[in-house]
């Protein structure tokens, strides 16, 4: 199925507000989905026998920069029987001065792959995933301060008495 057909399918199922924007300029077209609906959209794309995206190849958490103040998650789906690929994105504005983390629905129920990927995005970018079964740090120590892949990240000076360089 082409991106246009998938777009139509999603609009019929969820209404026209589900797709906020479409990026077609690059080599790989991407659909920007309304953040609250991403889990339902993913479930539909996986279960619908016309799309059948049974493999979540990659999930990336992104800090789009200090000026933009946007956080996003990018999903790379692949369908094994149809040999197709699809990119989905969700984006949210986020005020860096609040103590709350930017938050997106978890897709760990749809693909188990997402579980570790979302833990990684939480660990390194500082994105919270609602309804995630096991949201802990995965690569860094549990008592590490801050989220290293944020654009405004400052490493702590000492970690347990060891100088951080």
């Amino acid at each position: 199925m082409s991106v246009e057909e998938i777009k139509e399918l999603l609009i019929i199922k969820f209404g026209s507000e589900v797709i906020l924007k479409e990026e077609v300029s690059g080599l790989q077209p991407a659909l920007i989905i309304q953040a609250d609906m991403i889990a339902a959209v993913c479930q539909e794309l996986r279960d619908n026998e016309k799309t059948y995206f049974d493999l979540l190849a990659c999930l990336t958490g992104i800090d789009y920069g200090i000026d933009e103040n946007m956080f996003g998650v990018v999903y790379h789906l692949a369908s094994i029987p149809f040999k197709t690929q699809l990119t989905l994105k969700v984006i949210k504005y986020y005020d860096r001065n609040t103590s709350q983390l930017p938050s997106f629905p978890s897709v760990a129920e749809v693909w188990r792959t997402a579980e570790w990927h979302e833990r990684e995005a939480f660990d390194l970018v500082g994105i919270r995933f609602e309804n995630h079964p096991d949201l802990r740090r995965i690569l860094l120590p549990d008592d590490w301060d801050g989220y290293p892949l944020r654009k405004d990240y400052q490493a702590q000076e000492y970690y347990r008495g060891i100088k951080v360089d």
Binding site: A57, T60, R112, T113, R136, L139
Partner: protein
């Protein structure tokens, strides 16, 4: 108050808190030879039986993604090499392909360069699989295959050192070309190696693959059903052993692979159930054979119509300045361990990417371990870890 606490706890906390009095929580690793690096497994056991496995990673985390946000594409290649340190060539090949496609120069790369890339990648794939097979033998208790595998791997290491100047981390494949052309006489020596190596695989099969003790330890152990494998994002030999013909060299048809003949081995459950440890081992054995076929075809082309000429410059197509236009791009390629992906976000102005994410195959293959090792014996858990063939440099990045 109590309710609030329960909703805030993770599954991990619950597993530890709900362990029963007769159960024991033991740590395997991080410093244990059978964990193949610095992996810590927290295992809840009931006597000899494994109830739950909780992997803890990050001991080898080297902030690859943060480094990549501060380095140009060319400067990142040595870092990329260090992710899966047993298959450096394949790592840099995928990275370089991604950058070339973003620049739109992937069609201009000379055929000779593409063939050399495939040649060194397949050599590296054999070397990587030899480590996987040899160390798996050690995990199970067979010492000799390890020495044989490392003896043969040494020949590949020597050849790649001859071509690139280093034994393990090559920095050989560059954006738009290669560091150097192959040294004079490389093709002939490689051909000699292939002729030497083919009968060695028969010996290894007689010693290990068809060994009754080995089969008893691996057949019907750690069976990974296909739907679970796909749901957890497993790829490479792990996915193919579960019976699916899914090889990105054929699906995406990148580099010189469409012109080369090779088969995709899959697990058939010859010794037990499809997707067990023996199948994963066998798929790697068969892949070595296919890689040898690819190498022979590459050598033939490189010695005939793509022969080295005095004026051939492997750096001729290298761009002076690598500034892709603003875009997102996800590239995937078949590594010895599975689908290696890089996701680039570029802004079109600077020579460094805005964000890079590496999708490491071992990371996904490892995530399935708690699913397939529930209820096995501790000795079988060691067999399962070995059959996954993880490289912790890639899991932790």
């Amino acid at each position: 108050m109590e309710n609030l606490q329960i909703t805030n706890t993770t599954r991990y906390d619950k597993l530890i808190a709900n362990a029963e009095t007769h159960e024991m929580i033991i740590n395997i690793g991080p410093q244990h030879p059978s964990t193949h690096g610095v992996l810590r497994l927290e295992v809840i056991t009931d006597g000899e039986v494994v109830k739950e496995v909780i992997p803890h990673m990050g001991y080898l985390h080297r902030c690859f993604e943060k480094h990549a946000e501060n380095l140009s594409y060319q400067q990142s290649i040595p870092f990329v090499d260090r992710m899966d340190y047993l298959a450096s060539m394949n790592n840099s090949h995928a990275w370089v392909m991604g950058v070339e496609r973003m620049l739109g120069i992937d069609k201009e790369i000379p055929k000779r360069i593409e063939y050399i890339r495939v040649l060194v990648c397949e050599l590296n794939r054999i070397a990587s699989h030899l480590v996987a097979l040899g160390t798996y033998g050690i995990d199970i208790g067979a010492f000799t295959p390890f020495l044989w595998c490392f003896r043969d791997r040494e020949h590949i290491m020597n050849m790649l050192e001859w071509a690139s100047g280093s034994r393990l981390l090559y920095n050989y494949i560059w954006v738009g070309g290669l560091y150097y052309d192959l040294p004079v006489g490389f093709e002939e020596r490689c051909k000699e190696f292939v002729d030497y190596f083919k009968p060695k695989m028969t010996e290894l099969n007689a010693l290990l693959t068809d060994n009754q003790i080995f089969i008893a330890r691996t057949a019907n152990v750690g069976v990974l059903p296909l739907d679970v494998a796909i749901n957890y994002g497993c790829s490479g030999p792990m996915l193919r052993a579960s019976g699916l013909k899914w090889d990105l060299r054929r699906i995406d048809e990148y580099s010189a692979y469409p012109e080369l003949e090779f088969d995709i081995p899959v697990g058939k459950g010859n010794m037990g159930t499809t997707g067990d440890c023996w199948d994963r081992f066998k798929v790697r054995i068969d892949e070595i054979e296919q890689s040898t076929r690819i190498i022979e075809q590459c050598l033939e082309r490189l010695q005939k119509d793509l022969k080295r000429t005095p004026d051939f410059d492997p750096r001729a197509k290298m761009p002076k300045k690598i500034t892709p236009k603003a875009q997102d791009f996800y590239i995937r390629a078949e590594n010895p361990r599975g689908e290696l992906g890089y996701y680039f976000v570029t802004d079109g102005k600077s020579e460094i990417p805005k964000r890079v994410k590496a999708r490491a195959p071992s990371f996904h293959n490892l995530s399935v371990i708690s699913e397939i090792s529930r209820g096995v014996l501790i000795a079988d858990l060691i067999a399962i870890i070995g059959s996954i063939d993880i490289v912790l440099g890639e899991v932790d990045r």
